[in-house]
Structure formats: structure tokens, C-alpha cells
């Protein structure tokens, strides 16, 4: 049916698109969303390999990745709200001060 490499290609396609989003966009929320996209691409890989190898460990790692993504989204959005409150902007390239 579907060769494992197709999953890998899909995954790397999504990953690359995520990278493009992170390095080219200015809006921090979209950057954060692109990161989610990258994490998601990794999950496809993990699950596809898990099926290839025949063990549940890929699934377990995918769950950890999702956990991580949740934590990252929560903190990231918290930072964005704090940032927006102080600077009234959402542009990533204006985030150029380490301390306000």
C-alpha cells in the first residue's frame, strides 16, 4: 500500500513549510503556529516509523511531543500577551530588547 517513505516526504514537506514560516514571517503568533506545524510534522514521522518497526514507542514519543507543544503554546502565548501589553505590537522583528 503506501510506502513509508511517502509519510517521510509528507512530514518533511510540512516541516520545511513550518521552517519557512518561522524564518520569513513577522507576526509572532504566526511564527508560533509555524512551530506547531513543525512539531506536527515530527509526529507523522514518529508514528510512521512506529508502524514500520512495529512498536508503540513512536506513539509514546508523539504523545510527549504533543505535551511539549501544549506547554510551549501556553508559555509562548503568555509571552505574546505580555509583549503585546508592553509594546502594543505583534511584530517579531521588534522584539529586539532582552529587557524592557
Amino acid at each position: 500500500m503506501i510506502p513509508t517513505s511517502h509519510y517521510l516526504f509528507l512530514s518533511l514537506g510540512l516541516f520545511t513549510i513550518g521552517v519557512i514560516g518561522v524564518v520569513t514571517r513577522r507576526n509572532v503568533i504566526i511564527i508560533l503556529m509555524s512551530i506547531e506545524l513543525m512539531l506536527n510534522a515530527v509526529n507523522i514521522n514518529l508514528v510512521a516509523f512506529s508502524r514500520l518497526v512495529g512498536s508503540a514507542e513512536g506513539h509514546v514519543f508523539a504523545i510527549f511531543v504533543i505535551t511539549d507543544a501544549a506547554a510551549e503554546a501556553a508559555v509562548g502565548l503568555g509571552i505574546i500577551i505580555a509583549f503585546f501589553r508592553n509594546r502594543e505590537t505583534l511584530l517579531g522583528d521588534e522584539m529586539d530588547l532582552l529587557k524592557w
Binding site: 500500500m1 503506501i2 510506502p3 513509508t4 517513505s5 511517502h6 517521510l8 516526504f9 509528507l10 518533511l12 514537506g13 510540512l14 516541516f15 520545511t16 513549510i17 514560516g21 524564518v23 520569513t24 514571517r25 507576526n27 503568533i29 504566526i30 503556529m33 509555524s34 506547531e36 506545524l37 506536527n40 509526529n43 507523522i44 508514528v47 510512521a48 508502524r51 514500520l52 518497526v53 512495529g54 508503540a56 506513539h59 509514546v60 508523539a62 504523545i63 510527549f64 504533543i66 511539549d68 507543544a69 501544549a70 506547554a71 510551549e72 503554546a73 501556553a74 508559555v75 502565548l77 503568555g78 509571552i79 505574546i80 500577551i81 505580555a82 503585546f84 505590537t89 511584530l91 517579531g92
Partner: protein
């Protein structure tokens, strides 16, 4: 046959939505397409017989994280940001480097074919991890990482609360 239709449909949906996520001007639309991409990924999980992961993806990613995203987007006034320049100054360099990275990854997969049976479909006898199996592995072999993950979530929760509080 059905398998292939499902896979290629969801794969195309995921890629197209992902492209729209990084190119849309309006953040809300980006978020909608990200949700679509995540749901398409969930569909691929289902096609891979990872049912538990499918539902985790739907509940946690689409139902939890993305609600948070949409919530924050709506809290923050967006009218200004739509009219700003969307891509930063080094966008061409970034794009170039990202494409190079993509090419490298393709190369890696191509080279990896020799070591692993990537070209063929997964063996039909491959086990189909059920919810029970995932649970068993998660709570036996990966008990410590699981606990660490829960502490990570706790820390993230506290961090998010502190960050988002009005006056620190």
C-alpha cells in the same frame, strides 16, 4: 485502494493548509488553516491505525491548543497587523535556507532507503498499537518521562499564568 485515497487526500490537505498558514495575511485565517492541517494530520494518524493518537491530536491539538491560539488572537486587537508588511527583510535568505534544509532532508530520506525498508509499505503483520498497548508502554517503560512531562506542564501552566497576569 481506500487507504491510498485517504492518505493522499489528507496529505494534500495538510500540505495545502500548511502553505496557507504561512502565507495568509489575516492571523485568524492562518489559525483556521492550521486547524485544518492538524486535523488532516489526525486523519493520517487514523490511516496509520494510530487511533489513540488521532483522538489525542484532535482533543489536545485542535481542541485545546488551537482554542488557546484563537482565544489569544481575539483578545489582541488585530486591525493594525493586517495592514503591516507580513514578511521580514531577510525573507529571501530565510526561504533559501529553508529550501536547502528541505533538500537536505529529501537527501537524507533517499540515502536512508538503503538502511531501512522505506520504499515498501509497512509489513502487514506489523502490530497495530491499540490504546491499551500505548498505555502499557507509557506507564511501564516511560513512567519517568511521563512524570517529567507532567511537571513540564505544571511549570508551563505557572509560567503562562505569571506571564499573562496583568501587573507582575
Amino acid at each position: 485502494m481506500l487507504d491510498q485515497i485517504v492518505f493522499y487526500f489528507f496529505a494534500a490537505l495538510a500540505v495545502i493548509s500548511a502553505l496557507l498558514v504561512v502565507t495568509r495575511r489575516n492571523v485568524v485565517q492562518s489559525a483556521i488553516f492550521l486547524i485544518t492541517a492538524l486535523l488532516a494530520t489526525a486523519g493520517i494518524f487514523l490511516q496509520l491505525h494510530a487511533e489513540f493518537l488521532f483522538i489525542v491530536q484532535v482533543i489536545l491539538y485542535a481542541g485545546g491548543i488551537m482554542v488557546l491560539f484563537v482565544f489569544v488572537i481575539m483578545l489582541i486587537n488585530l486591525d493594525v497587523s493586517i495592514h503591516q508588511v507580513q514578511f521580514n527583510r531577510q525573507w529571501w535568505l530565510g526561504l533559501l535556507l529553508a529550501l536547502v534544509l528541505g533538500a537536505q532532508l529529501i537527501l537524507a530520506v533517499a540515502l536512508g532507503r538503503s538502511g531501512l525498508p522505506l520504499g515498501e509499505p509497512a509489513p502487514a503483520t506489523a502490530l497495530e498499537p491499540s490504546t491499551q498497548l500505548v498505555g502499557r508502554v507509557l506507564f511501564n517503560e516511560y513512567m519517568l518521562p511521563f512524570e517529567i512531562a507532567s511537571i513540564l506542564l505544571l511549570v508551563a501552566m505557572i509560567g503562562a499564568v505569571v506571564m499573562a497576569k496583568k501587573k507582575v
